[in-house]
């Protein structure tokens, strides 16, 4: 058995996808080649590294623990998006409410004083900060909703 065949045998039993598998394969091959360059024969390399099935089992355990960690991170991101979405929605409602109250007061003032120039102030231009804030918040709500949907579809199927 050559050192490449040994590493191939290990990775025959490793359960993970392309890129990650390639990275791990490369780093294990480097280790094995290093040992060969130090003058070890393949039997000694196997006795130092372990039988292919044994090594593969440890790599699989490492990968499953890593997946667990990634899943936990995804769940945290998902929940973060959910709460940010609720918060943004509440702010939108409050801003709309305050704008409505202000608008109502202005219109009432115009009605009571019959001052046509006040119509200008009652226009939406009166609230540039609120309106731009609302636009940003609505974009944020949509973005968060899309992120949540993608995460749900991809990882929580």
């Amino acid at each position: 058995m050559t050192e490449k065949k040994y590493v191939r045998n290990v990775f025959k039993h490793v359960m993970c996808g392309g890129k990650r598998k390639k990275e791990l394969y490369k780093s294990f091959l480097e280790l094995v080649i290093e040992k060969k360059e130090e003058g070890m024969d393949i039997e000694s390399i196997i006795s130092e590294m372990g039988e292919p099935e044994e090594v593969a089992e440890e790599i699989n355990v490492y990968l499953s623990e890593k997946n667990l960690l990634v899943n936990r991170m995804i769940l945290n991101v998902y929940n973060g998006c959910k709460y940010a979405n609720i918060l943004a929605f509440v702010i939108v409602i409050l801003t709309f409410g305050s704008m409505f109250v202000k608008q109502y007061k202005i219109l009432r003032f115009v009605y009571e004083h019959q001052d046509a120039s006040a119509y200008f102030f009652a226009s939406p231009l009166m609230f540039p900060v609120q309106i731009s804030g609302l636009i940003v918040l609505i974009i944020l709500i949509i973005a968060l909703f899309i992120i949540r949907s993608v995460l749900k579809r991809k990882y929580m199927g």
Binding site: V10, L24, S27, F28, L31, E34, E38, E48, M49, G50, E54, V55, E58, I59, V61, Y62, E65, K66, L69
Partner: protein
Amino acid sequence: MVNEFEKQIKRGMLDIIILNMLTQKPCHGYELLQEIKRSSQIFESLKEGTLYPRLYRLLDNECIEFNLAVDEKKSKVKKIYNITKKGKIQLEELLKIWDMFVEDMSSVLGR
């Protein structure tokens, strides 16, 4: 079942031992393996194929880090592993859990 239980316990123990050894001095992988084999009966027959996945896990969790150093004798670059601040905190936590388990199991099993 016994075999699987032993493997699981060993994996947990190995994480603690690696972190503890790296608090004493930074080591490269092979040096770490030899140290562990020398100092522990349970890990006398520890293989590199078991050690490296544990090192990868600790690296992923940012408990350890590595620096590249040139081995002048062999003119090769080696990874020297070192414990991080997070790793030291984790080690403290793990040792507390370990002590608690040992104490509790002794009292439950009456040994």
